[in-house]
Amino acid sequence: MRLYSNKQRVTNMDKLIIAGKEFSSRLFLGTGKFGSNKLMHEAIVVSGSEMVTVALKRLNINEENDDLLAGILGPSITLLPNTSGVRTAKEAVFAAKLAREALETNWLKLEIHPDPRYLLPDPIETLKAAEELVKEGFIVLPYINADPVLCKRLEEVGTAAVMPLGSPIGSNKGLQTKAMLEIIIAQSNIPVIIDAGIGAPSHATEAMEMGADAVLVNTAIAVAGNPIQMAEAFKLALIAGRMAYLSGLGKQTLKAVASSPLTAFLTE
């Protein structure tokens, strides 16, 4: 069952703009963990995603035809190389320059996780690297913990967006950092992309309803029983969430509100 064809646009969706570039889809995809490059490619196409991240370390940057890269590139795809694997700001800057040279893009997902187990980002090294990379002309999208102050600091040094995590990467636990994400979204002047922990389409919808600008999904799609159908499910979930946000959600309340207020007589 397909509710929308791949090309059909939902007309009352607004566009996402990052660093002056327009995106029709608010779903960003990661490229790890897929059972084959072909499967990944099909998932990307069906998802309608226009921003796809890939780890520099996975690419054969000296080869003309890299299988993985060939599975990602498409006319409407912005390639977002990431620095996964680096442990310090210094290594990140080095890797970023390597990526820029090899892939001819100044877009960069900055990831510095010295902890290889939970892949939690290092806030100090990330801020340091972001500042330097912005000066070097990169469009920096940093992956960080859901820390509102850090997000403002990154905005101040000139990152194009912030990418706070919903819960630990690959955990599929959803928006465990919700209270912090609400603050980040409320006070940010740059797009907020919820990066890690999105495990189900409902989590993505929730992020959109909260007013997040985009979400990045990888494990939930790559490891699904049917990755292609799951990619489509996420596409629809994002559209639903964004539409709901734009429509103005009703406030949640614990008490029942009488449709004829008890004190209405006072103004009669």
């Binding site: 690419l59 010295p114 290889p116």
Partner: protein, 371 residues
């Protein structure tokens, strides 16, 4: 400074053995509920004979956790033997000093010939292996070999004799990503029986090696025990104790576990196999439940059938097409192997088998920032 030796000395082999063999079905069920958050007590239960009837449940959990963390991918690497010179006597090893085999250490030309042969298969991650002959095959030799090899590979690992922290620092700065050093057995009282002569007979120096690697900030440390020497259950528990100590202290380091099962080698009596296929699956799955993030590696010592089936049960990294003699890829004369391999398929055949299982063989997953 605290060290693993202090922690290790708090336990006796007999006490741990008694603990493992007294575990009941109840303990196993409790460990299975703790999915992915296993303690060392849980690990003891999952290793125990009491867990054997739960193998299918154990495998199902291990499969699920592995897939979530590593996806449908398998990392590919290939060993390259630099030398079979060795000053140690190890009762189980083909390279043992008292084993009358021809000794070879690769020259620069031979190294490059091996590289050319290996690159035909598409490998990008390489594991350098040697015996222990400090005078001829020491840090200077390794640095030279690494510099020769570096232009052709993104990821270099080493499985060589234990070295000093300063030597590991040199190797790390040359681009070495990981170092594997197996304790062989944690049964200190019997260690010397298997390693009667040479530097390797020093149990505590070997025990302290991962610590030196941690301090040298090597990216990944490989641990393991030789399956077939002592009781694999007790040895594996001590290995997990070691891992638990290291992963808390050196939190920036990745860890991997290998499962070397004793294989026949030229000039040595056939080993008693102390661990069955079923038990090895139990061990692999127990490690996965103990540590969601650890890399689990399996070599060509194991059969094609076994390897094809355990990639979906927890193994995340395998070698293929391996030769265990120095010069074995470029030359047809094979008289000096460390051990016989079982899975003799080519890397292409193994990669096809992986794809047929719905997994993607990953040849490159690292970028050396200082070539």
């Amino acid at each position: 400074m605290d060290s693993f030796e202090n922690i290790f000395n708090d336990y006796t082999w007999e006490e741990i053995s008694d603990n493992i063999y007294s575990k009941t079905a109840f303990d196993v069920e409790k460990a299975l509920i703790n999915q992915g958050k296993n303690t060392l007590e849980d690990f003891a239960a999952l290793l125990s004979p009491a867990a054997a009837p739960f193998l299918e449940e154990l495998a199902a959990q291990s499969h699920e956790i592995t897939q979530k963390r590593f996806g449908h991918t398998v990392q590919m690497y290939i060993p390259m033997y630099l030398s079979n010179e060795c000053q140690n006597i190890c009762t189980y090893c083909g390279f043992s000093l008292d084993n009358k085999i021809l000794r070879t250490t690769l020259t620069d030309k031979q190294i490059l010939d091996e590289v050319a042969a290996i690159k035909q298969y598409g490998y990008d991650h390489i594991l350098l292996v040697s015996g222990e002959a400090h005078k001829t095959v020491g840090t200077d030799y390794f640095v030279n070999a690494i510099r020769l090899i570096k232009p052709y590979f993104s990821n270099i690992s080493m499985e060589v004799q234990p070295l000093a922290q300063e030597e590991y620092e040199i190797l790390a700065s040359e681009g070495v990503y990981s170092v594997l050093v197996y304790q062989e057995t944690y049964r200190k009282e019997n260690y010397k029986e298997y390693h009667p002569k040479g530097k390797k007979s020093n149990f505590l120096y070997r025990l302290d090696t991962p610590e030196r690697l941690g301090r040298a900030e090597i990216h990944k440390i490989g641990l393991g025990v030789l399956l077939g020497l002592e009781d694999w259950r007790v040895d594996s528990w001590f290995c997990a104790l070691h891992l638990d100590y290291l992963r808390r202290k050196y939190w920036k380091t990745k860890y991997s576990i290998s499962f070397p099962r004793l294989r026949p080698a030229v000039g040595l009596p056939a080993p008693d196999s102390h661990i069955t296929d079923k038990e090895l699956v139990q061990l692999i799955c127990a490690y996965r439940l103990f540590d969601e993030n650890i890399e689990l590696s399996l070599s060509t010592r194991e059969s094609a059938k076994f390897r094809d089936n355990v990639i979906s049960l927890g193994i995340t990294s395998i070698s293929a097409g391996s030769k265990t003699d120095p010069g074995g890829y470029a030359s047809d004369e094979h008289a000096l192997e460390q051990f016989e391999i079982d899975d003799s398929r080519t890397p292409f055949e193994v990669a096809d088998a992986i794809r047929n299982k719905g997994y993607e063989p990953v040849w490159k997953d690292w970028e050396m920032l200082k070539k």
